[in-house]
């Protein structure tokens, strides 16, 4: 279903043209909320070749607004490059000449897996607000079922940034025997009050849009575009560092002088509005609510009286954690909490703090130190692939 692994060359290349796959799961998925998801679909992509021992699979978990489309492009869609194409491909840090890489769209998202836009088999109508709230743990359970279906008993590694990093951590806790390495980037063991506050402002923007209709806007042929756009603008501010914004926009105006009005006069306003509008064209508002809630709820220590060391006691994977110095959304100190808890458990862990200027978004961007580190770590996974611990 994915592009065949091309002959090795030295220069990093794209995996080329890819086609997503779709799997239907009839057995209901029991959710943390107590609800369950009746039959559901998972949309996914794979790159590279699964080896004979089925030991070289790497699962890439996506964050808020991304999907199963990690790398490559779709035929006849020139601007369809995957969200982590700079990380995954032949000769890239996660090298598809050696690894079988899996991207999967999480249930509740809006890129092909069952979510609020899907038809609820019980009513024949889109789920809308009736779609159950899902958690990071629920996603990991769904991902494990996809691995079962693909015949993969144990993943060489699970990797993700931000919310994707939370899923990688959760894999290490929920399925300790099924994951060799956990690579968690720009993440946190739980959201702070400030993180939750930003999410709540974003949700409130969506919910107060007159086109939201309590989440059941599909039947009315409208979408809460303005609310979703504002939600994205708020989110986007938290992805960038203040320094980076100053560097990129400063106080630059779009015309010569102040217009003494309230339009998008500053470059930064124009940029944010453009980002918001673009996002509202392709993202679903109910999914935004659901995924920000999954972020809020993630707190593996909660079941252990707030003790992260106890929460990670079950983990058996080896860990690489990476943070970025200018990330104030999930600051390095948050990752250090995870590192300290892993050390207290005596786990193998390495931690790098990359001095990149781009804030939280740095995990998606090219940075030589960051990419060399990930490449080196995956080299060592490849060298030891299949080894039992």
């Amino acid at each position: 279903m994915a592009a065949k692994t091309p002959a090795p060359v030295d220069a990093p290349r794209s995996v080329g043209v890819v086609t997503p796959g779709n799997l239907h799961f009839e057995e209901p998925l029991a959710l943390a909320s107590g609800a369950q998801l009746a039959g559901y679909d998972l949309r996914y992509e794979t790159y590279g070749t699964l080896d004979a021992a089925r030991s070289n699979a790497v699962l890439v978990c996506h964050a808020l607004n991304a999907s199963h489309h990690v790398a490559g492009t779709y035929a006849d869609q020139p601007r369809s490059t995957g969200w982590w194409d700079n990380m995954v491909g032949p000769g890239k840090p996660i090298d598809t000449r050696r690894f079988f890489v899996i991207g999967v769209n999480n249930p509740g998202s809006c890129f092909g897996s069952t979510g609020p836009m899907s038809v609820n088999p019980q009513t024949g109508e889109p789920y809308g607000s009736a779609f159950p709230v899902v958690t990071v743990e629920d996603w990991v359970n769904a991902q494990a079922r996809l691995c079962d279906a693909l015949g993969i008993a144990r993943l060489a590694a699970v990797v993700g940034g931000s919310l994707g990093g939370m899923q990688a951590l959760s894999w290490a806790i929920q399925y300790p025997q099924r994951i060799g390495h956990c690579v968690a980037i720009a993440t946190t063991p739980k959201l702070s009050a400030q993180n939750i506050a930003f999410n709540d402002v974003a949700r409130t923007a969506i919910q107060s849009d007159p086109d939201f209709h309590g989440g059941n806007y599909y039947a009315r042929g409208v979408i809460p575009r303005r609310g979703l756009s504002v939600a994205r603008m708020i989110g986007h501010i938290t992805y960038l560092s203040g320094e980076d914004m100053t560097e990129r926009f400063g106080r630059s105006l779009r015309s010569e002088d102040y217009a003494f009005g309230y339009g998008a006069e500053f470059e930064v306003e124009s940029y944010l509005r453009y980002q918001g509008d673009k996002f509202s064209e392709y993202f679903d508002a109910n999914t935004y609510l659901l995924i920000t809630r999954a972020l809020d709820y993630f707190d593996p220590a909660r079941a252990h009286d707030g003790d992260l060391v106890a929460a990670l006691a079950a983990a058996r994977a080896r860990f690489l954690l990476v943070s970025f110095a200018t990330d104030w959304r999930f600051a390095p100190a948050r990752t250090r909490e995870i590192v300290a808890a892993l050390i207290a458990n005596g786990r193998d862990v390495s931690y790098a703090e990359i001095d990149a200027p781009h804030g939280h978004d740095a995990f998606l961007l090219d940075d030589a130190r960051y990419h060399k580190l990930i490449a080196a770590y995956f080299d060592r996974i490849a060298a030891g692939a299949g080894e039992a611990r």
Binding site: I343, G346, V349, S350, R369, R380
Partner: protein, 193 residues
């Protein structure tokens, strides 16, 4: 080839014990102890290139400065905490030595001997010493707290550290006479009294 002071340090470390290496560089000591002594452990290192080298060597490395890095570790987590060729560059030498015996049962430090006879010759000639072990000019040196073996022993006594082993080396070999003048590197193993 393991650096000579690291060979001496490794000889003082038991098999299969947890080790913390402060300023672990490329992870050479930890990789050696893992392979030859089956030791587990972590290194703390601030430099990007060194962190990358540790990852390549499959050594657990935590990128942090020593002060904030040490806070991650609970009391008595390690058998031995190593600080090789770094003591002289620490801002707060006393605090680091105290932290070493907090997180470990024992500490090992190595440092260049500022009391080497050739340094006196340099000073008599009117210049700060520049040698293979202290290869910096006075204006760009990271070495802000150079000392002699006797100086270190006095500090250790003041901090309540009991020195259990001492090695004074020149060109990687033990020095047996006039060692305070002839050694280029001093290595001490100590524990809390």
């Amino acid at each position: 080839m393991l650096r000579q002071d690291l060979v001496q340090i490794a000889s003082w470390i038991d098999r299969e014990v947890p080790i913390l290496d402060l300023g672990c560089g490329d992870g050479a000591l930890l990789a050696y102890l893992r392979d030859s002594h089956r030791c587990t452990g972590y290194g703390i290192e601030i430099d990007d290139a060194s962190v990358l080298a540790c990852v390549r060597a499959e050594v657990n490395v935590i990128q942090a400065d020593l002060e904030s890095g040490l806070r991650m570790f609970a009391d008595g987590m390690f058998d031995t905490v190593v600080l090789s060729q770094t003591l002289q560059a620490m801002h707060n030498v006393e605090a680091v030595l105290r932290e070493m015996v907090r997180v470990g049962r024992r500490g090992i430090v190595s440092f260049p001997n500022f009391g080497h006879w050739s340094h006196a010759v340099s000073l008599l000639g009117g210049h700060m010493p520049v040698t293979p072990d202290i290869p910096y000019q006075w204006y760009d040196t990271p070495n802000i707290h150079l000392c002699t073996p006797r100086d270190f022993e006095l500090l250790a006594a003041r901090l309540g550290l009991r020195i259990t082993d001492r090695a004074l080396l020149a060109r990687g070999r033990p020095v047996s006479w006039l060692e305070n003048l002839r050694a280029t590197v001093a290595i001490y193993r100590f524990e809390k009294r």
